[in-house]
Symmetry: D2
Subunit: 305 residues, 4 copies
């Protein structure tokens, strides 16, 4: 890999600083006294809570909790002990995770448009997003130059033609995954990747693929959302970052934003103006995932921003 | 009618001030030289253009023009002469309108929710919206007190039960229109009016009914949009002011806006937060209509804001 | 007092519903284990936390906590016992407050402009803001009609001329306070009130007066902010709701917002467009205060929205 | 220069496409009939107006006009003839400019922060901003790597120490200008450049230097605006792109935007969140300048967006 951008904060150095800190994530059926029990476990281990947030979905009677603790969960053993202690005081069915802060590996998938990829490359290179972009995989070769400028490997995996049968599509995805796997990414980020992934692929990466769709979903799902927006004559256009599930453009939403447009916006001008909101919304969602701020609960997300 | 709110600017006085001024509206197939021809006609009549805007829909090859002129179109005769002169220099199929500035009569239709009605009553009473609210018509009696506080007549026209047949619905609308007609409104404003109007009613008021829908259309058309928004887990909720056409929630959009929400918003809390954006978007659309800033072209609007 | 607006939720009924619930507010020097201790006290009393938020100002090493508890703090005795128990586990210097949810009495002070007053009257009348507007006090008589339409008493206390001496100003304020005191308001809301209050007045109501200033402070403090904004050629105008302190326009900020403007906005047009943002920002701040979501810490506020 | 980013639209190709089109800019004292006269000149030359905007500053009685014309102003001779014809029908004191659309040369000046520079490099490389970044000049060497990745020359011109005398500062600027001049830029873009430029430098580039300041001016001019914002406890932070004049942070404003913050934002977190708004506001202003959409009139700008 090439030199990092001179003058940028060193992501590895940041990770080192935060290496002793950790994030504690709990979700479970709601009960009286949960916070008291959880903070009791943390207090017994002298873990100082720097920041914590909780939320009770009163309709679903479900409890969500996230805390950043300052020190002492550094080693895997310590983390495992903490999980065990927390499970001991929590109701059955609780999900507990303890992770260390720091830099995560991701792989980006792209097609033709450079703006979302460029945003992520710049943020990662300047230490402004806690991840290492291990590789970019494209079904076109067009984003190779931009990617390699940042010293990131680029894999071109040509996709089969639009009318290809399922076997051809699955074969294509098998090659994709062979390109991805050695990089062991925590997340796959679809940065205006223009192919639909198979149910099998999506299931293997469940909860770990984020996509940016260039509309305020659920409006204008599917193809050519700016053209749809133009035809309908809306006065706002937007972008939606969401988890990828089997149902196209139906996954849980992580972040959304919009910008105003007027009658003077052709679909092309919408597309140009929309790039800014697309790249910012995707980067926001990726940051939330990397910082472990997102719970999925059914079709909805709990986001501790 | 009761006294206007003391201390508010007097809408009639404002109208008087602007009475000699006028608005010139043109739309026609596009050609080279249209602005030169139109401004030539205005110049020949010594009409000073205070403000003008034009737009060419290049795909549809259609031209839209709006000008505010300072003086000299005061009488109906002068206006008619101006229309004639403009038509003489414009291509076949041109639509030309000349209107005087000033206060317009409107009727508001409401059901149960007071916030949109209250906003319009306050704005009109303080001279901040160039209209006279001649009456409020409700299919419930609930908004009578609020309406009458502002000295505005309230007509309660009880609607037939939900499962009523077409004859009952049309009979209901006939009573509605009998209540409305004596007030001779330029526009009907549906301020969270909860009934669907018949095709016949809509056709008779074509281009003159504005509705507020409590979602960013086309997302969440139809019933209970906040509940739909909650179920889908969106991160923005919005409101849309649109012309009412035969197709429910499909009319040309005049104004839209959104506000952020998060996982902590139940449908009820969305409804409360959404009231502010609903009332502002509706008031914005009504102002645009009253100031003759909106052209309809197919399913889209040209808004010279 | 006149009838409430028919069809509106009844504020008293809402208060009754919430009467058994309460809000627990704590701020104190930060220490390890505070949340555990506080939740322990609540748990021991079987108080179910429906919602809680905490914040540590790490620079100032100060801790802030707010919880809504479902039941059991209804009576003053219960509340007093809870405060005592909490103080027993908290560090020296802790401030603990336990309040019951419900409707609070406020008094509004106004001058000439009706939009902020109208917004608050509508919200309170429709049960959409948990307060009773006990009275409106004006240094002009202009807002009497609007106020009395909502069945709220209006007191006109004519102010001395601009060049009046201190004795005249203090005499004026004494009359003001005599008009206010019988209404026993929790908060005084300055809804575009155009007089500067004396240090003595401000001190007597410390932390209980909220003002709306029509700029994004600290830009354009003082007189004629829209004219200042026009002269400077800014592209955004805004409004700021803040506590009133001895230093004009320098009190801790509770809420702010802005809207875009362009070169076409004269100071007059800014003023008209700004009314919407002024009224919404003031109403937002008043709601935050009524719901006990605001801590003041030096010149800054902690707002648990 | 290195290859452009593969897959990006070719800026030179775009320029070629637009080479025959042009932009006509007029500002002059206001009179009746100006639009008619200007459009008459354009019509006589068979120049089709694709888009035009005008504005009258009624207080200053000054007229501003911008039109995009489709073809026929390609050569310098044609442009000169058009200017002459327009001047012949316009009042004394009119300023008329005719420019060809297309790609403009710019030079960027930077110091330490990469986000604004990175945004402009990405946009220019993908053909998304109609300019060629001819060079980047830095008073530190830190942004060299980022710049050279995009095949753009980087010049490091070390600045004298903070306490240096005027002679040293002027000598430094002389070296700066020697680095800049061979690139013949239309505009100098200060992308978080941290030095104050001398009056002489500013005068030589009058109307051609744009700066991004990291606050919503006029609030928090000068040093450390995020720290100032933190201390004052504002609920919005922003960025302002403005022309550089002799008075620091006082030049005419081109674009501004803000984002919400709360009590949880330290100055450091404000700085991180603010980067997005800084880079977008600067890029928006640079685009407006490149597309000839900005008139300066005293301390204010007219922006035909």
């Amino acid at each position: 890999m090439a030199d990092p951008v001179p003058g940028a904060a060193d992501p590895a150095a940041r990770a080192a600083t935060a290496a002793d800190s950790g994030i504690v994530l709990v979700d479970c059926p709601d009960e009286v006294g949960l916070i008291h029990r959880i903070t009791g476990v943390l207090f017994a281990r002298r873990l100082n809570i720097e920041n914590n947030q909780e939320f009770v979905d009163t309709a679903a009677r479900h409890f969500f909790f996230r805390a950043e603790v300052a020190a002492g969960v550094a080693g895997p053993a310590a983390a495992a002990g903490l999980v065990e202690d927390l499970n001991a005081v929590l109701p059955a069915g609780a999900r507990v995770r303890v992770t260390r802060g720091g830099v995560r590996p991701i792989v980006i998938m792209g097609s033709l448009e450079p703006h979302c990829l460029g945003e992520l490359l710049l943020l990662a290179a300047s230490g402004d997003l806690p991840c290492t972009i291990r590789a970019v995989v494209g079904n076109h070769d067009r984003l190779r130059g931009l990617t390699e400028r940042f010293g990131v490997p680029f894999h071109h995996v040509a996709a089969p033609a639009a009318g290809a049968d399922d076997a051809a599509r699955l074969a294509h995805e098998a090659i994709l995954e062979r390109a991805i796997m050695p990089h062991a990414p925590d997340y796959l980020v679809l940065a205006r990747y223009m192919r639909v992934l198979s149910a099998g692929f999506v299931d293997r990466w469940a909860g770990r693929i984020v996509n940016i769709h260039h509309s305020f979903l659920p409006a204008f799902a599917g193809a050519a959302p700016y053209r749809q927006a133009f035809v309908r004559g809306v006065k706002l256009i937007g972008a939606t970052a969401h988890f990828v599930t089997r149902d196209l453009d139906e996954g849980p939403i992580i972040a959304q934003d919009v910008i105003p447009v007027d009658h003077g916006f052709t679909p092309e001008r919408m597309a140009r103006a929309g790039r800014d909101v697309e790249k910012l919304v995707l980067a926001r969602a990726v940051r939330l995932l990397l910082e472990e701020r997102v719970f999925v609960h059914g079709r909805r997300t709990i986001v501790f921003a």
